[in-house]
Symmetry: C2
Subunit: 225 residues, 2 copies
DNA sequence: AGAGAAATTTAGGCATCCCTAAATATCTGA
DNA sequence: TCAGATATTTAGGGATGCCTAAATTTCTCT
């Protein structure tokens, strides 16, 4: 495997997380927004990633990028590191849920294979991280599970919360306060432009308005995991 | 506290570890050897460290450097990170003793205050790392304890092993095999140019020859800790 | 003291990864 | 279709931190 830097890791992970399906191309602009850098910087990096031997991405000028198989492998490895670290920080070091992301984001690039393996063993080879995200297997890449954004779920249909976003600590605290956590069943009553109204919120009788900012943190499915 | 990079941390720690007393100057060459870079690179970095506000080192051209109080604080913080991580890796993640150094050396730069605090709590606020080195307190800088290199210990005087070097995995494995670990009492019988002969090795009747390479890994004192 | 050896610094470069500004390519709607 | 809007790339720089080679300073020994 070619050597990867922290910057390279971040690009690969961002491409992975922005590409819904495997064949879908990710735009330079979307990457720039995700990574907090300028689009010009993205272009430069993509050219380097595509020039590596083996290439880490397949890059089409003006069209976008997708991960090569080598890039996909490294990206999933980083995601595995991230999610194992989040669980470790939460379960072993007793971090509050909304603080695990930042620390994991920093450390994920630097832990060794051995560290990864030992933490996984300490945690009992876990399958799910504390936000409800699937922890990919070592080596194997991993398809996204059958979740859809809550924003895309039809009104009236009961939905089970599968996972919540890990990148926004304030939103995460709010969701915890509202008990909107993985495993909970909800029903969308009305969908408004900037919010949805939920009926039958657990432990609450009145309908409940949820801003899009929070809605966008939630992924749901028909059944629990 | 001024921002520090990994490289800056490494320089500060190397200066700390190479300066026996607080006022002693460390030479560019010694730093270059310790850090595995060229002396010219050291000069460049020292000039930057001295130019920081507040300065991290006091640098006298052609004479050497010592840490400023800000530099000393950061250096001891890194040493605390390193030793806490070594103990964590050994006790919690079950790393073999000779593998903890490399991983700790990488991670020490990236863990947060919170991580440091939580690991310390998990370990029960430990005082000594698995090689016998004192873990400095949070914030407080820390004087070196009353240890001397085994190479400087007089023959005939019983000595208690206080600590063993953590940077050489092969030497460390050998010392473990010989049961030359912190707490063990030894006596130097004869000192030769390239080795010492130990008498009364625990569980062994015959005198025992120890190469300087291993001797230099050991620090001793008159009494146990 | 002074010459040669050793240590240190300066000068000039390279790689990484970011930036802004300007050029160019693609997309969209009348 | 084609002009304006949008997206993307190119060109030229900056900071960090490493390198080699060439100066320069300091040390050591006679």
């Amino acid at each position: 495997m070619a050597a990867t830097s922290q910057a390279v890791d971040d690009y690969l992970k961002a491409i992975l997380e922005l590409s819904g399906s495997a064949t879908e191309l990710v735009s330079s602009n979307a990457l720039a927004a995700r990574l907090g850098v300028r689009a010009a910087s993205v272009t430069g990096m993509l050219q380097k990633l595509a020039a590596q031997r083996p290439p880490l991405v397949v890059y089409q000028k003006h069209r976008g990028v997708r991960l090569s198989s080598a890039g996909k492998q490294r990206a999933w490895e980083i995601v595995r590191h991230h999610r194992l670290l989040e669980l470790f920080l939460h379960n072993i070091l007793k971090y509050p849920l909304d603080e695990v992301h930042e620390e994991a984001e920093r450390l994920e690039h630097f832990i060794s294979e051995r560290f990864e393996d030992r933490v996984a063993a300490l945690l009992g080879d876990p399958k799910i991280d504390p936000h409800g995200h699937v922890i990919p297997h070592k080596h194997g890449t991993h398809a996204f599970p059958d979740e859809v954004p809550l924003a895309d779920w039809p009104a009236g249909e009961p939905a089970v919360i599968r996972s919540v976003g890990d990148r926004d600590p304030a939103a995460l605290r709010e969701l915890q306060r509202l008990d909107l956590v993985p495993g909970v069943t909800i029903v969308v009553k009305v969908r408004n432009p900037n919010a949805v109204t939920l009926s039958a919120l657990p432990g609450r009788n009145t309908p409940f308005r949820l801003s899009n900012e929070l809605v966008n943190q939630i992924a749901v499915a028909a059944t629990s995991r």
